[in-house]
């Protein structure tokens, strides 16, 4: 083993640092899934009637669907009947200040490094923290309310703004869109709802943190963001999960709707438990994220840093319906040990003069498999559309794999679509160059990986970029850097 190999081995073998299990009383319903369970969830959450219809419709369609097997993933069979579909912290007091919050919960947040108090003062970030499906804390609600912005948990939204939810729910991800979206639609427990009224530029970054806590509870989050005409919002989502041995299922749905000239920026840092070095445990992450640029000149941009989960199946997409609308996708996906990721983006150009960009950076280490899968589709009516896609893969050793599966479909002559992909390992000449300038190999690899991902990290909001860089280091660098 050469020095470099040793360092790479060290780099790629660090343990998951965020694994712990906090003891909070939760209210769990029996395992299994049938119409009664769907009804129970609906009852427990005291939702309006249209939701029961919505959920049952989704459930019935889900029953007829099969789990997709087209991804470049080896997914062990999942028994959907052995999962409990609802878990909520038992006590749900309405807090006025942080002092009233269950101290154990605060402790959990502190371990995660969510600076709830700090952010309140310094960063100006409103945090809607979700622990095991039910939102327990919403901050800055009042500040936002002054501007007419609605930012609350999905349950609250259903109570307080049922008409708004009804108008937009399922508009970008229909109930039967795919297997996991249908499952989510049937049993989703909570999530976030965000509405930015006409002409409002959201004064702060909105953010939520998701955690999966109790064993054997699938987490089914639902996020709905609606940006009305001429509005702007930047939304952050980040997550870490405690170390558990059994595989946990996560099937979230995120829907974004951007109306005329609205802009939505959605950033994610995903760092769920990826399983141990031997591929045992870890989260199964099957997520449907889709944004519809419904208005003219609207813009949706997805930025993601994916470092966690044993299996990732995630394709944040943009449907560019309005003329002159813009879609963006920026991604860094890191896989290590036995992780598998099949992730990418879809850009559907329907409106005229629509533009999209896809930048995807994959980094594979250990025995992992990292795939990019994307679709760029230009419909005949989407004249003068433009797409540029770039997918780069970096391989850190000879046991991992990097794969690229782009699909490009162009239906008119005035559009231009370009796709390029490269696969390589860290250049020996690059490391040599650093060594030569007195930077040791450890640091050099850290620098090169970070530099490689920089293009995407730069797109993240400031507060997030710092965390994302840390995550990259934790995922890959271990003791390095």
């Amino acid at each position: 083993m050469t020095d470099q190999d040793k360092i790479l081995a060290e780099v790629t073998q660090s343990e998951y640092k965020y694994g712990f299990f906090s003891d909070i009383e939760t209210d769990i319903i029996d395992i299994g899934l049938n119409e009664d369970v769907v009804r129970t969830i609906w009852e427990k959450k005291k939702e309006p009637d249209f939701m029961l219809e919505f959920r049952l419709d989704a459930f019935r369609k889900w029953q007829k669907m099969k789990m997709p097997d087209w991804a470049y993933l080896k997914v062990p069979p999942i028994d959907f009947q052995s999962i409990s579909y609802y878990a909520a912290p038992k006590k749900k007091p309405q807090y006025e200040s942080l002092d009233e919050v269950d101290p154990e919960l605060l402790e959990t947040f502190n371990k995660l490094g969510i600076p709830l108090e700090e952010q309140k003062h310094l960063a100006g970030v409103a945090v809607d923290a979700v622990i095991d499906s039910v939102s327990v804390k919403t901050t800055f609600k009042e500040v936002l309310a002054e501007q007419g912005i609605i930012f609350c948990s999905f349950s609250d939204a259903l109570q307080e703004h049922p008409d708004l939810v009804r108008k937009y729910l399922g508009q970008s991800v229909p109930v039967a869109d795919n297997f996991f979206a249908a499952l989510n639609s049937a049993v989703f427990s909570d999530g976030s709802f965000c509405y930015i009224p006409e002409g409002v530029k959201c004064p702060m970054e909105l953010s939520t943190y998701f955690r999966i806590n109790s064993a054997n509870t699938g987490q089914f989050e639902r996020t709905l963001i609606v940006a009305d005409n001429d509005s702007y919002v930047s939304y952050l989502e980040g997550c870490t999960a405690p170390m558990r041995d059994e595989n946990q299922l996560h099937a979230a749905v995120v829907e974004i709707i951007a109306l005329d000239r609205a802009e939505v920026k959605y950033s994610t840092v995903q760092n769920w438990y990826p399983g141990d070095k031997n591929g045992k445990g870890g989260i199964y992450n099957f997520v449907t994220k889709r944004g519809v640029c419904r208005g003219v000149s609207s813009k949706i941009s997805w930025t993601q840093v994916e470092t966690g989960s044993a299996i990732t199946w995630k394709y944040p997409s943009c449907i560019l319906l309005g003329d002159n609308s813009v879609g963006e996708f920026n991604s860094v996906a890191v896989t290590n040990n036995h992780q598998q990721a099949d992730t990418g983006s879809k850009m559907i150009h329907i409106g005229k003069n629509t533009k999209s960009t896809i930048i995807s950076k994959g980094i594979s280490a250990g025995k992992s498999d990292n795939s990019y899968r994307g679709l760029v589709k230009v419909l005949p009516g989407a004249t003068n559309s433009r797409n540029f896609s770039q997918c780069d893969s970096l391989l850190l050793n000879d046991t991992c794999g990097a794969h690229t599966f782009p699909y490009i479909e162009v239906g008119n002559k005035s559009s231009i679509v370009e796709h390029e992909a490269t696969t390589s390992k860290i250049g020996e000449d690059q490391i040599f160059y650093c060594n030569q300038r007195g930077i040791d190999t450890e640091k050099a690899i850290g620098m090169i990986v970070n530099g490689y991902a920089k293009e995407v990290l730069n797109k993240l909001p400031m507060e997030f970029a710092v965390e994302a860089q840390k995550l990259l280091q934790i995922s890959l660098e271990g003791s390095v850097g």
Partner: protein
């Protein structure tokens, strides 16, 4: 409902036909061809005629092509054509070993083959299966019937095609030209099975031309297996020039040993529906594979190039360049997969697919894929769909070249990148000329063809 029934019926039609003729197929052919027949047929039944749900046929709908009532040609029939009248869709100034194939059957009176170097055999597959089964020991080993229903169907029905054997260290100076004619008195389903066995140190070039001689509907399902020995050079040029009612399904499998080089070039100038499956297996160190293709199509034509390059050993290299110019309502598809298996280090694999759409009704679908399981590799792919670069056009115009001429120049240059890879000079000039004429709109097909098929 009715669609479902039709689909089922469609496969059933072919299964029923196989059951009808399987006894006579067996009796009439040598053991070598009979051995894989039954398994192949079972594989076909399992897979059925591919629908667009089959990932490999996502962009090519074959169902309507299998729908007409075709006549199957399971026996050698006398060729009724005066070859001189047909006119050799030939290449001026190119002396070749020329052989004809009619409806998938190797023509018996091939007089223009001429003197082949010692030991080289160019013959009918049917005949060789009886006479020299030892040379066909690897028959069916490359074309895996479990992976593709068309290959399965071909293997089940396989009777004849051409057979080429080139012994060790033989250089075949003149290219071997194979002209495939489709000519039947009614709509016909043609099965052609070819086998090429090239030993160590061989240098051979093949030019294959596909033509139709009348306006009946044809479905030609052909499979070619090629074994390229160590240090050999194998070149395979295909010119596809058939009328709009033709469905041409070609599957070519090439197995390469160390230090060998194999080059394929497909130029699709005309055809109804063309599907070219190509699978390269680089199974020896320092092997090189080159895959080139170009298509100029218009009206409702469809061309689908589907390639797979498997880098099974280290230090190999592969290049792919595919270019399409799509006019009118034509549709094009490209799917290319580079698979670098574990430990195939120091691999260089490149792939490029560029497409020009000339109208708003033409569509292009492309699916370049990389599957990489080794780290010390350089792999890249690129795909573009667009139109002629306006800036380059402006540059030409600013130098006093009129717009229509400038456009032609640009398109010519676009295609020339592929054409220039042809190592046989007269053939290169000929294709250049054809492309040039094609672009000027003078001919949409081989202009020397006696059958001026207006389609």
């Amino acid at each position: 409902m009715s669609v479902l029934v039709e689909k089922a019926d469609l496969s059933l039609k072919y299964t029923a036909h196989y059951n009808e003729v399987k006894e006579s197929l067996r009796e009439d052919s040598a053991d070598v061809l009979n051995v894989p027949r039954n398994k192949a047929f079972q594989d076909f039944v399992m897979q059925g005629i591919p629908t667009r749900k089959n990932e490999n046929y996502k962009y090519t709908n074959l169902q309507p092509q299998f729908y007409p009532e075709y006549r199957f040609i399971h026996r050698r029939e006398p060729a009724k054509v005066d070859l001189n009248a047909v006119g050799r869709c030939d290449v001026p100034q190119l002396d070749t070993h020329l052989a004809y194939i009619f409806n998938g059957w190797y023509y018996e009176n091939n007089k223009q083959v001429g003197q082949l170097p010692k030991g080289v055999i160019l013959e009918s597959l049917e005949k060789m299966a009886y006479e020299k089964p030892e040379l066909l020991a690897k028959y069916g080993t490359l074309a895996n019937t479990g992976d593709d229903p068309l290959v399965a169907l071909n293997t089940a029905f396989a009777k004849d095609g051409y057979f080429l054997y080139v012994p060790k260290n033989t250089v075949v100076e003149k290219p071997i030209q194979l002209i495939n004619f489709l000519q039947a008195n009614q709509d016909a389903f043609v099965t052609q099975r070819n086998f090429i066995y090239v030993e160590e140190g061989v240098d051979v070039k093949i030019i294959s031309c596909d033509h139709t001689l009348n306006l009946n509907k044809y479905l030609n399902n052909s499979v070619t297996e090629v074994f390229v020995g160590a240090n050999a050079n194998f070149e395979y040029y295909t010119l596809q020039n058939q009328h709009n009612q033709t469905t041409s399904l070609n599957s070519v499998f090439i197995h390469q040993e160390r230090d060998s080089r194999a080059t394929t070039l497909y130029s699709s100038l005309h055809g109804g529906l063309i599907r070219n499956n190509l699978k390269f297996i680089l199974d020896g160190e320092n092997a090189e594979a080159n895959l080139y293709g170009m298509a100029f199509i218009d009206r409702k034509q469809h061309v689908d190039n589907f390639t797979q390059v498997i880098h099974a050993k280290p230090h190999c290299q592969s290049n792919q360049v595919y270019k399409n110019v799509l006019d009118d309502d034509s549709t094009g598809a490209f799917a290319g997969r580079i698979h670098v298996v574990r430990d195939a280090q120091k691999t260089n694999a490149f792939q490029r697919n560029n497409n020009l759409l000339l109208t708003d009704k033409a569509t292009m679908q492309t699916k370049p894929q990389l599957i990489i399981d080794a780290d010390d590799v350089k792999c890249s792919h690129g795909a573009t769909v667009g139109q002629i670069d306006e800036e380059a056009l402006f540059y030409l115009r600013s130098r006093g070249i009129e717009e229509s001429k400038a456009r032609l120049m640009m398109m010519n240059a676009f295609a020339h990148e592929v054409i220039q890879r042809i190592s046989v000079e007269p053939l290169r000039d000929r294709i250049d000329e054809l492309v040039d004429k094609r672009l000027k709109g003078e001919v949409a097909r081989c202009h020397e063809c006696a059958y001026n098929c207006e389609c």
